[in-house]
């Protein structure tokens, strides 16, 4: 079986192409059923976000890749990339760990991959192979997030403002946010603060009517700009975006408010030019003023920090990838081992019983000794082949050669209850021989 990945991302195709081949959420299940019905395709998952449309599938051979590509339509073909086996696996690990994202380290992609897996399961397109791959990819992504700083630090101006508000105030539960003016970025930041638990969102504007409209839009309470001194006493975060040509929040105004608010810290975010908050207000104790340049500088610093963590994140992905490949190769080696052991044991058992029948007068203890000797011979003879097969783990020709040499190829598909129970016993015996060795490592 082959893991394949067919599709494109922001790296291969511009948005004009991506938007034409994007699959709306309600059509994903149908598309997955279509994929599953393709010849040779056993399992499939579709990741469709604004930055990528990619199909991960388990198929009988690489040939299925072309059929899968056709489902994306003719627009996708010139841009699409086909990846197979280890390359496809590595790509899925990197995508899930957000190493292939437009903003490296962004948090959404992991959720999007999980969502894609859930939809595939719902559509009956997710099978055991893809599930195993996804579980390991998720583990790798989580390790990348916890063991590196790739996801630390916001990288857009509005999210930097929200992050700094958290840094200053901790939880935003019960906090009051004041929105001065109607700038788009300010609204975005205010909405994000509100979604993160801010208790009260006060919206002030020069025009009361505009304040009311905006308050309705962002789910806040309209207040009058004339009450600014009192509002500065109440607010924990003030986002200024009024379009006024001179400072609305002066140092003097803030100094007076500070005393009245008993030195509770306040975060003043100034998102306009010319600035609405007098920069010298930052010199006051427990007053923190950040303007556009300051926020952008922090965003750049965070982007640099993320970039510096990419090498370590790639290292983690490679570790997980290698571990996964090794485990799956070992899994593929087990059937040959199981069949070899079952064959050897059945030969030994038959010969022992024949010998015991011809030897009259042996007591139970002596019979037991003969059986133990036969078992010991089998174990000693199989020790080196078992360990070689396990070490090679499907990477070389030994597995196939063993099967051919001992005539093991035809054994598995035996009909009848007895045969399958014997096989199961043999496999569990083989696993018993292999698993302890794996655990030791």
């Amino acid at each position: 079986m082959t893991l394949l990945c067919v599709g494109l991302s922001h790296k291969q195709a511009p948005i004009a192409v991506r938007e034409r081949i994007a699959v709306p959420a309600e059509q994903v299940e149908g598309r997955l059923r279509q994929l599953k019905s393709l010849p040779g395709v056993r399992e499939a998952m579709l990741v469709s976000t604004c930055n990528r449309i990619e199909i991960f599938a388990v198929a009988d051979s690489r040939d299925a890749g072309e059929d899968v590509l056709e489902t994306l339509g003719p627009v996708a073909a010139p841009h699409a990339v086909r990846r197979f086996e280890e390359e496809a696996l590595r790509h899925l690990f990197r995508v899930t760990a957000s190493l292939d994202s437009m903003v490296v380290g962004e948090a959404q992609i992991l959720g999007q991959v999980k969502e894609a897996a859930a939809v595939a399961q719902q559509a009956g397109a997710l099978g055991p192979e893809l599930a195993k791959v996804l579980a390991r990819a998720t583990t790798a992504a989580k390790r990348v997030r916890t063991e590196t700083e790739i996801a630390r630090g916001a990288v857009s101006v509005s999210s930097v403002a929200v992050q700094l508000a958290h840094k200053l105030l901790g939880s935003l539960d019960g906090r009051t946010v004041l929105l001065l003016g109607a700038g788009e970025m300010a609204q975005l930041a205010a909405r994000e603060l509100r979604s993160q638990g801010a208790h009260e969102l006060l919206v002030a504007n020069r025009s009361p009517q505009q304040a009311e409209e905006l308050a309705r839009e962002v789910g806040g309470v309209p207040v009058s700009l004339a009450e600014l001194p009192a509002l500065l006493v109440r607010a924990d975060v003030a986002i200024c975006s009024t379009g006024a040509t001179e400072a609305v929040v002066t140092r003097e105004l803030m100094a007076r408010a500070l005393k009245a608010r008993r030195y509770r810290p306040i975060f003043l975010v100034d998102l306009t030019l010319p600035r609405n908050v007098e920069p010298s207000a930052n010199e006051l104790e427990n007053v923190y003023v950040y303007d556009l340049d300051d926020l952008e500088r922090v965003a750049v610093q965070n982007r640099d920090l993320r970039a510096s963590q990419v090498a370590r994140a790639e290292e983690i992905v490679e570790q997980e990838l290698k571990a996964f490949l090794l485990a799956s190769r070992e899994r593929t080696a087990v059937p040959v081992l199981a069949r070899l052991r079952a064959h050897a044991e059945s030969v030994a058992r038959a010969e022992v019983e024949k010998t015991l029948a011809s030897l009259q007068g042996l007591d139970e203890k002596q019979q037991k000794t003969v059986r133990a000797m036969a078992s010991a011979i089998v174990n000693k003879l199989l020790h080196t082949p078992t360990s070689r097969l396990r070490t090679e783990a499907g990477r070389g020709p030994l597995g196939e050669a063993t099967a051919a040499l001992f005539g093991l190829e035809a054994e598995p598909e035996q009909p009848g209850e007895q045969a399958s129970s014997e096989q199961a016993r043999a496999e569990s015996a083989a696993e018993g021989a292999v698993l302890p060795l794996l655990r030791k490592r």
Binding site: R262, Y263, N286, R297, L305
Partner: protein, 278 residues
């Protein structure tokens, strides 16, 4: 036996400190878990060592001599205990990166450098007041050391926030609000224990010298009273005028420095406990 246990505790503290310091450079939840576990193991073994020592010494209040090293060792154990409680409440691994090395820095000279035994005045060798005094002083100092640590972290973090240049460790530091609240709460508790230590100290002094406030004032008492007054003013300023943040953090740092002066005074000349073993 006690010495072996102390050495095991010191090893656990060192490994715990290493885990937390590594976490600063390479964040991993596993390192934090390992650091916590190692400090916990260290402190349990450390207290077991104290138990064994007390048992050997005849148990209870009948101790006739003490060493500076033992006092610092007790301080280290109480500080680690305080940190583990604090971490349980607020999740502050970054403070572990402060407490771990601090503990090792206190323990190494305390146990590896020889110090003379000092005789305890016979009048107080069975005194409950002395027992409470030492306990309250150790707990108070440990709590204030933690408050000091959080205040230093607050000042570092606040500076970066003000200068708008968050450094590498900025992301690992908790919010300023948390550092401020936790640091202040610890300062209040430290003040309570410090008050108890000073009150019981004056009782011990009366038992030895006949006066609760002997004159001239020794450096130990002088520094302790100054530190107490500073923490009292800090709490008053917070409650009445709403002081918080940088000012409070700086006062905590100053108060703790004064408290360290108390220990320097204690080691140089301790009136109530004066004397050197033959």
């Amino acid at each position: 036996m006690a010495t072996i246990l102390v050495h095991i505790a010191l090893l656990a503290y060192t490994a715990g400190a290493a885990a937390f310091l590594t976490w600063l450079v390479r964040p991993s939840p596993g390192l934090v878990r390992a650091g916590r576990m190692l400090l916990l193991v260290g402190v349990v073994v450390h207290f077991a060592a104290f138990g064994v020592s007390l048992g050997v010494a005849g148990a209870g209040l009948g101790i006739k001599a003490w060493k500076g090293g033992e006092l610092f060792s007790l301080l280290a154990a109480v500080t680690v205990t305080g940190y583990l409680l604090l971490d349980f409440r607020y999740e502050l691994p970054v403070a572990g990166a402060f407490v771990g090395p601090f503990t090792v820095a206190v323990m190494v000279p305390a146990h590896l450098v020889h110090s003379n035994a000092r005789v305890i005045a016979p009048e107080v060798s069975h005194s409950i007041a002395l027992f409470v005094h030492v306990g309250a002083a150790a707990i108070g100092t440990a709590v204030l050391a933690l408050s000091f640590g959080l205040s230093v972290l607050y000042l570092a973090s606040e500076r970066q926030m003000k200068e708008k240049r968050p450094g590498r460790l900025f992301a690992r530091l908790p919010s300023l609000d948390l550092l401020d609240r936790a640091g202040y709460r610890l300062a209040v508790w430290g003040f309570v224990f410090l008050s108890l230590a000073i009150a019981t100290g004056s009782l011990v002094s009366r038992e030895v010298t006949g006066s609760p406030f002997p004159f001239p004032v020794a450096p130990k008492e002088g520094f302790a009273v100054l530190a107490w007054a500073l923490f009292a003013s800090l709490i008053q300023a917070r409650l009445v005028a709403g002081w918080r943040g940088r000012r409070v953090a700086m006062l905590v740092v100053a108060g703790f420095v004064l408290l360290v002066g108390t220990y320097v005074g204690l080691l140089s000349a301790a009136p109530a406990l004066r004397g050197t073993a033959a």
